[in-house]
């Protein structure tokens, strides 16, 4: 697909600005009425979903150039998908996130690249991760866990740690704990260790289609070779790309792909994982965009008038993963969940996605700060989430702004309740 394939979507924009707001029936306060970090922070209409579609159409019609300034606006967007959810409350014929993705691909084609993203690409080319860490240390987190080497030994479950969990020292205990939980549930768990590489999601979002396809191909061949029947990941970013981007570019993984929250939910329900110890804590849960609305599986593209498209092919955000993490939390003795105002498919983004963390960390931190304030207003003692990128940013933003709210990965709470050490 290309931007030109979305002319009808862009021309269909009624400029109603619904894309800027939480779906209206779910607006609960003035403070939390907005859904899009970019328009909320930068205010010009061009920063909204609608405004970016206007820019795309303007460019295609030769009204404006794709300048550095225009590209800067296009990349000041977390690609969190909130605008599309709100738009699709009222529209069947506009695939807003796809337009945003095509705009980025157009930027790449026309050489309007962000310097910070170029650095990330260099890291990826060199070491298969966007963080600039050496490839050789990627598997260090597995040390002493007794996990199978998926390249040499059979395993039921292939666990994909993802770049952030593989390298971030502050999150290391989380990923190790996750692996132990999988083992406790009775699964034979294998990892690719040092052979694991980036899922390619970030480059897909930045518009580098060729690189994204290469990473997907690499992942596909590793999964095929493993013989595993299930792929589990704790990273929401990876999960969304496995579920949506991979099939979209013809690289669907031939295994069941589960986020760790789905896996744990099943294990708890089936009695394979026992939650014994009370964890007396009032928590609030942050829905990662890539686990929620952005993880809706790709089914197929629709040719022709989207007004006639079957509703099953319309991505509304409703098909994301919202209930499994909530069920897991409610299964833990002592845990009390206090919901924020913006949840599920209309959750506010953490700020890290779409390359924003790399190109404008201040904007990313501001976005996270907004969410932390919302979390604090619930009276919760801690925020729980299920994505390492969200956790990293929330921890940093809380530290920088002096907000006193601990942030946990959901597996940490589960681990405490199982008594697994």
């Amino acid at each position: 697909m290309a931007l030109t394939d979305y002319v009808r979507d862009m021309r269909g924009c009624s400029r109603c600005s619904s894309c800027k707001w939480v779906p209206f029936n779910q607006v609960k306060s003035w403070r939390n009425a907005m859904n899009c970090p970019a328009i909320t922070r930068f205010n010009f209409h061009a920063y909204s979903g609608s405004g970016k579609m206007n820019m795309g159409l303007s460019h295609l019609q030769g009204r404006s150039e794709l300048t550095e300034g225009a590209a800067d606006i296009i990349y000041h967007c977390q690609l969190c998908g909130a605008c599309e959810v709100s738009c699709k409350v009222y529209r069947d014929d506009i695939d807003l996130t796809d337009v945003l993705l095509e705009l980025r691909a157009t930027c790449v084609e026309e050489g309007q690249l962000m310097v910070e993203h170029m650095a990330m690409l260099d890291f990826l080319k060199r070491d298969d991760n966007p963080l600039g860490e050496p490839k050789s240390t990627r598997g260090d987190w597995t040390e002493g866990l007794g996990l199978k080497d998926i390249n040499r030994e059979p395993a039921d479950v292939m666990f994909h740690a993802g770049c952030r969990f593989s390298y971030d020292p502050d999150l290391r205990e989380i990923v190790r704990g996750t692996a132990r939980l999988l083992q406790s549930s009775g699964a034979v768990v294998g990892v690719a260790g040092g052979e694991e590489s980036c899922c390619g999601g970030r480059v897909y979002e930045l518009g580098y289609r060729g690189e994204a396809a290469n990473y997907a191909e690499d992942m596909l061949s590793r999964v095929k070779a493993s013989g595993a029947t299930t792929l589990v990941t704790g990273c929401s970013d990876c999960y969304a790309h496995f579920k949506y981007a991979y099939p979209r570019i013809g690289k669907e993984l031939p295994v069941e792909v589960l986020h760790v929250t789905e896996y744990l939910d099943r294990a708890i329900t089936e009695g394979r994982l026992r939650l014994r110890d009370s964890v007396p804590m009032k928590v609030t849960y942050h829905d990662p965009c890539h686990l929620g609305r952005m993880s809706e599986p790709f089914i197929c593209d629709w040719e022709g008038d989207k007004l006639l498209r079957p509703m099953s092919l319309k991505r509304t955000g409703k098909g994301g993963i919202y209930d499994p993490p909530r069920r897991v939390l409610s299964s833990i003795p002592g845990v009390r969940l206090e919901e924020m105002e913006r949840i599920r498919e209309y959750s506010w983004c953490c700020g890290a996605g779409g390359g924003v963390l790399e190109c404008d960390p201040e904007f990313a931190a501001w976005t996270a700060g907004e969410r932390l304030q919302e979390a604090i207003s619930t009276g919760a003692e801690a925020m729980v989430t299920a994505c390492p990128w969200c956790e990293r940013l929330f921890k940093d933003a809380a530290g920088e702004s002096g907000l006193d709210l601990p942030v946990y990965d959901i597996t940490q709470i589960v681990l405490r309740s199982t008594g697994t050490r």
Partner: protein, 561 residues
């Protein structure tokens, strides 16, 4: 150089503006400015762009607005402010600057005891209402939907909504205004101008509500409004009821002291009479005639598209077209019972039948969609766009007449495949102030990406204008169009010459862009013979004139030059 000839701001002007709002709140990036030039609603041009402004600024305070306006006056630059910015009337002529009021989004005050709220331009209906419901209060929501600005509808444009039966329409609820006049001077209107309180729009202090907007509003042609106090109303329930879901999966229960009914009348006559009685009985909180084609299209667009192929179904639906959704609200169960009894008695007397929608699965969606005003954007789901003709506030008999005329005009164009078939039955009409007056506009659904639709809609608008004159009705919202003003002016006491005089008193340099209000285009000598003009012009011919001459906005090709 004439202001409209200016395509780019002189660097020194840009710098002056930048010093006022800060570098991150001003831009002249063409791609960004095209975000303001995309205006598909009420745009008769097939490519849907309006002129690109020379710059966009985001003032953050009244003082910044004053400073920006003064710079415009100093350098002879056109400007127009908008809040949420939906509709062609938000466009400034080429070379002008847009003041996007988005940064001014604060709820300044909610006075529960005296029942008013003071808000800035970017406060939407839904964001104020969200704060009010939990306090047992509510606010008037407008037909443009709950995402629209409260201030804009109160000070500058239209303001009708389906709660009009109990909450009137926006300008009647104004209790004070902070107004940056076209030359930058600050005017505080109503009691605010006398002793700094917001309790009365008419004084003590200057009472200029009529001059500020009259019936329809100046649409940005009289400076910039920075704060408004609006009346707030009773919400006889305990806050809000929450449930998951976004629209058709959003099904919260109804509160105890409110009920929603559907009343189906047998024909237009009994509907007209029944509505009079409902108004006289003073038993309404929210009400709206149901346009079944619109409801079907919003909920089941694919089904609606296939409907014309099922004539029996069409006939059945048309037999129920005089159908009303009516919400009653009371402060006690006894009062609620009285209102329901009165409604049922009126229905019986009018040979109508009543359905208690609260007992049906979709009752919650309907109820909350009306209360929260979240339903209006569903109009875009059907074909992407709508237009509106008539749009008047008049007696109920007048509205009933327009309901019939509008249906006849639309049916003709639907038969020619010129717009989406909504059973030709899409008059948005309701009582205001317990029926003391009423609102009616005929909505046209179409796909702006279909050229035949755009042409047909222009024709239908032209025909509606003629029809309005033939039936001694006002042209309503069509007056936003300068050419319509010019053509109809002689039949309306040259009213626009008087608004132009008013405008000149407030804005001697004419820099607050008035294209949707009373521009030079409609007061200058007409090159068509107004004296001998008759209204039997074939609609196609009038539509041609519309396309060539009346388009509020020049086509983008002209703009780009």
């Amino acid at each position: 150089m004439k202001p409209e000839e200016l395509q780019k701001l002189p660097p020194e002007v840009y710098k002056e503006l930048e010093e006022v709002v800060g570098p991150e709140n001003i831009s002249e990036e063409p791609a960004l400015l095209d975000g303001y030039a995309w205006q598909p609603t009420f745009n008769s041009s097939p490519d849907l762009w309006v002129p690109r402004c020379a710059a966009a600024v985001l003032p953050g305070s009244t003082e910044e607005v004053q400073a920006v306006v003064r710079i415009c006056n100093k350098h002879n630059i056109l400007y127009k402010a908008h809040s949420t910015g939906w509709g062609t009337f938000n466009a400034v002529k080429a070379g002008g600057i847009v003041l996007d009021m988005r940064r001014m989004n604060r709820i300044v005050e909610i006075d529960e005891k005296n029942m008013y709220a003071v808000v800035e331009p970017y406060v939407s209906g839904i964001s104020l209402q969200a704060e009010l419901l939990s306090r047992g209060l509510n606010c008037h929501m407008i037909g443009a939907g709950c995402g629209a600005s409260l201030l804009a509808s109160a000070t500058s444009g239209v303001g009708d909504g389906w709660d009009g039966i109990s909450m009137s329409y926006s300008p009647r609820n104004v209790l004070g205004v902070e107004w940056v006049l076209p030359d930058g001077e600050l005017l505080q209107m109503g009691s605010l101008g006398s002793h700094g309180t917001w309790f009365s729009g008419d004084g003590p202090g200057p009472s200029l509500r009529g001059a500020m907007r009259g019936w329809c509003g100046a649409f940005g042609g009289l400076g910039v409004f920075t704060r408004v106090a609006v009346k707030i109303f009773n919400w006889p329930a305990n806050g809000d009821h929450r449930s998951e879901g976004l629209m058709f999966d959003y099904l919260p229960p109804l509160p105890e002291n409110l009920k929603v009914f559907m009343v189906v009348f047998r024909d237009r006559g009994s509907f007209a009479e029944g509505m009079y009685k409902i108004g006289e009985a003073e038993i309404g909180y929210i009400q709206c005639r149901n346009a079944l084609g619109m409801i079907l299209g919003g909920a089941l667009p694919r089904f609606q598209r296939k409907l014309p192929g099922v004539p029996a179904m069409v006939e059945m639906l048309k037999s129920m077209q005089f159908c009303l959704t009516h919400i009653i609200a009371a402060n006690s169960p006894r009062e609620l019972a009285y209102q329901e009894k009165a409604l049922r008695a009126i229905a019986l007397d009018s040979e109508a039948f009543v359905l208690d929608m609260g007992q049906l699965p979709l009752g919650g969606l309907l109820f909350w969609g009306l209360v929260k005003d979240s339903l209006p954007p569903l109009i875009f789901r059907i074909g992407g766009q709508f237009s509106s003709v008539f749009g008047h506030d008049e007696t109920w008999d007048s509205s009933i007449l327009l309901n019939r005329v509008g249906q006849e005009i639309k049916q003709k164009w639907i038969d020619r495949d010129g717009m989406i078939d909504d059973l030709a039955d899409n008059a948005w009409m309701f009582l205001q102030e317990d029926g003391m007056w009423t609102h009616c506009e005929e909505l046209i659904l179409y796909d702006p990406r279909e050229e035949k639709h755009v042409r047909s809609v222009n024709n239908a608008i032209a025909e509606a204008m003629i029809s309005a004159v033939e039936h001694c009705q006002g042209p309503g919202f069509m007056l936003l169009n300068p050419m319509v003003r010019r053509m109809l002016s002689p039949m309306m006491s040259h009213y626009n010459f008087w608004t132009k005089k008013l405008k000149k008193e407030f804005d001697p340099l004419g820099l607050s862009d008035d294209v949707a209000y009373c521009s030079e285009e409609d007061v200058e000598e007409a090159d068509i013979d107004l004296e001998n003009m008759t209204f039997d012009i074939p609609p196609e011919e009038l539509a041609r004139i519309f396309e060539e001459r009346i388009s509020v906005i020049p086509a983008p090709r002209e703009m780009a030059q």
